[in-house]
């Protein structure tokens, strides 16, 4: 799929979202729409509210104002695991893996929602429990192949280098077969080769699985190359929206990044 033919339906729409922690306004009146199968980026200087925006989308924060529609349905206040049930997966800025578990188990944990066998069969590790374990193992092995992490399958993730941990975390999110994948700085702290790998994975995920991706990233080269549309946040407000070329020439964005005195 190329970048041109993604005028798909709206997958997620954010209407007039405002979020405040006491007197601190994290987000003010944010509007945007994410279309199916696109790579959508959120950028902005530090503290602009990008991560807060992701936390609102996957139900971790509850905005004081505004509405979110996901797949055309209005979303009530929800808990994160309900967002997971609806098909929203997420990686974190600072890796949030299950450190005591192996790579395989981490990704298998991502299949949690797809597994239904009851306690009785699990206690016996037989019948439905064993069958579903094997089916999901096969699915997980496909992800392991896709992300090229076969060699670290049995390694506890706490012992892995940072770049690989990020990859395992991506694998765990993929294991959920999400419709919407939220990536919070997937390339922070990586060297150029690791970044290239990660970019390749993101594009492949988008293309092979048709997953809609929301990307937060500080590396402008990466953002401009990967994303089809992006919004720019600054001090909790949306200051620009458009395709990479439009954003590049936008005076408000340049001001935000270069630091012009704010007038509001």
């Amino acid at each position: 799929m190329s970048a041109e033919n993604n005028t798909g339906d709206v997958l997620l729409s954010v209407d007039h979202i405002s979020l405040a922690f006491g007197g601190v306004k994290a987000l003010t009146d944010i509007n945007f729409e994410i279309r199916k199968k696109e790579i959508f980026a959120i950028i902005g200087p530090n503290g602009a509210g990008k991560t807060s925006m992701l936390n609102v989308i996957n139900g971790f924060y509850h905005p004081q104002d505004g509405e979110i529609h996901f797949k055309g349905l209005h979303r009530k206040q929800m808990r994160p695991h309900e967002a997971a049930v609806q098909g929203i997966a997420r990686t974190f800025q600072n890796v949030a893996l299950f450190k005591g578990m192996s790579t395989l188990n981490n990704i298998m944990a991502g299949r949690n929602l797809k597994m239904k066998a009851n306690l009785f069969w699990q206690a016996l590790y037989y019948g439905p429990a064993r069958k579903e374990e094997m089916e999901n193992r096969k699915f997980v092995e496909d992800i392991i192949d896709f992300l090229e992490i076969q060699a670290i399958r049995r390694t506890p993730v706490g012992k892995l280098p940072y770049g690989l941990q990020k990859r395992v975390e991506l694998g765990r999110a993929l294991a959920m077969e999400p419709e919407l994948l939220l990536l919070d700085e997937p390339m922070a702290g990586m060297n150029i080769e690791e970044k290239q790998d990660m970019c390749r994975f993101i594009l492949d995920i988008n293309e092979q699985y048709g997953t809609t991706i929301v990307l937060i990233e500080h590396d402008m080269g990466v953002v401009m190359d990967l994303s089809e549309r992006l919004i720019v946040l600054d001090y909790g407000r949306k200051i620009a929206e458009g395709n990479p070329d439009e954003i590049r020439g936008n005076q408000a964005v340049i001001d935000a990044y270069l630091g012009v005195a704010h007038t509001n």
């Binding site: 578990m101 949690n112 699990q122 016996l124 094997m134 959920m176």
Partner: protein, 358 residues
């Protein structure tokens, strides 16, 4: 040299996900099980069975239960003694109400009552974590100690205030009460512990076990991949209390014979917590290692002067017992915080590459 998995290829996920993928491990575990089922009842004398093996197995079971909760699901609990008491007293009441029913069945059933109680005391775990949760579970410990000590109905209005186990037969063999042979009691305990240990292994390597470890390692991320924190923690509390309850019932019915509620005091909760810390948190074998350590070391220390023929009075030995055990626990925490199970796995790694460790 003897312990190599080279050449043992797996061609299916079924084979790869087996309980003991390495052939030598499989052989070893079969040997241990066979030995404890066949050889031990034949050769061991009453002292060994009664003073060492039966308590070892019962404490292993209780430690296993606590390890599921604390080691796997990451919920610190000091209520083990209380849950054991619930198991013991409900088993006693069940035996009173259904005198004809198979007592092994009743022991297993009383675990469910304990599980229900554990479920209730697990509810605060959604809000509080770590040491604060430990204090909340301490409430269970003190509440049940009080309840079973004060409410006479629980001990059938006995004058002594103790629960006494009557003779109950399974297939015409007395398994509880004063006339039951130690062999019979040992076999009952061994069967139950083996089956429950196997179930524990199966649970922790499946979906529920992964959910537990996910909650333990990073609860926020666990919630974001669709694991419900409350349900997962409550399942952990219920299953853990089931194990504790069965262990408590076995403790009274097959080991002590008669008991007052004081046997389930706070010390037993701490002892079991020490077992899993020394044995290894988050490891099934660790529960057994830890129980062996805590049960066997005092016996060893007590008997060592006798064996060596050193004239020393028993009171002094008793003091040494506390000091040496305490010192060992401290040393363990310093040198191997992951416990005996970790030492075992390091040894196994070393053995795997021996004699060419490069």
């Amino acid at each position: 040299m003897f312990y190599r998995e080279a050449g043992q290829f797996k061609s299916s996920y079924v084979a790869d996900q087996e309980l003991f993928p390495v052939k030598q491990d499989r052989l070893g575990i079969f040997l241990i099980i066979g030995f404890s089922f066949i050889v031990i009842p034949l050769i061991a004398n009453d002292y060994w069975l009664q003073a060492i093996l039966i308590p070892f197995l019962i404490f292993s079971l209780a430690a296993l239960g606590l390890n599921l909760l604390t080691g796997y699901a990451g919920q610190l609990s000091l209520g083990t003694g209380g849950f054991m008491a619930v198991g013991a007293y409900s088993c006693y009441k069940l035996v009173t109400v259904f005198p004809e029913t198979n007592v092994i069945l009743l022991i297993l059933l009383s675990g469910f009552i304990s599980a229900g109680v554990g479920l209730i005391f697990g509810i605060p775990s959604l809000r509080i974590k770590g040491f604060y949760l430990a204090v909340a579970t301490l409430a269970a410990q003190f509440f049940f100690e009080w309840l079973f000590g004060r409410v006479k109905w629980f001990y059938n209005y006995n004058d002594s205030g103790a629960i006494e186990v009557q003779v109950r037969k399974v297939f015409d063999i007395a398994v509880t009460g004063p006339v039951a042979t130690t062999q019979a009691r040992y076999m009952v305990v061994l069967c139950i512990v083996t089956v429950l240990a196997l179930i524990a292994v199966n649970i922790v390597r499946g979906r529920i076990g992964r959910a537990w470890m996910a909650i333990r390692d990073m609860d926020i991320a666990a919630e974001l991949i669709g694991i419900r924190p409350l349900t997962t923690k409550l399942i952990a509390f219920a299953i853990s209390s089931y194990y504790a309850g069965v262990a408590g019932a076995l403790y009274v019915f097959t080991y002590l014979g008669s008991a007052e509620v004081e046997v389930f005091d706070i010390n037993i909760s701490f002892e079991i917590l020490f077992m899993i810390i020394i044995g290894g948190l988050g490891s099934i074998s660790g529960a057994f290692f830890g129980a062996a350590f805590i049960v066997l070391i005092p016996i060893l220390i007590t008997n060592l002067p006798l064996i060596l023929g050193i004239p020393i009075n028993t009171a002094t030995v008793e003091h040494f017992n506390f000091m040496i055990l305490g010192a060992l626990i401290v040393l363990f925490l310093i040198f191997e915080p992951h416990g005996l199970a970790k030492i075992w796995s390091i040894l196994r790694e070393k053995l795997r590459v021996w004699p060419f460790p490069y």
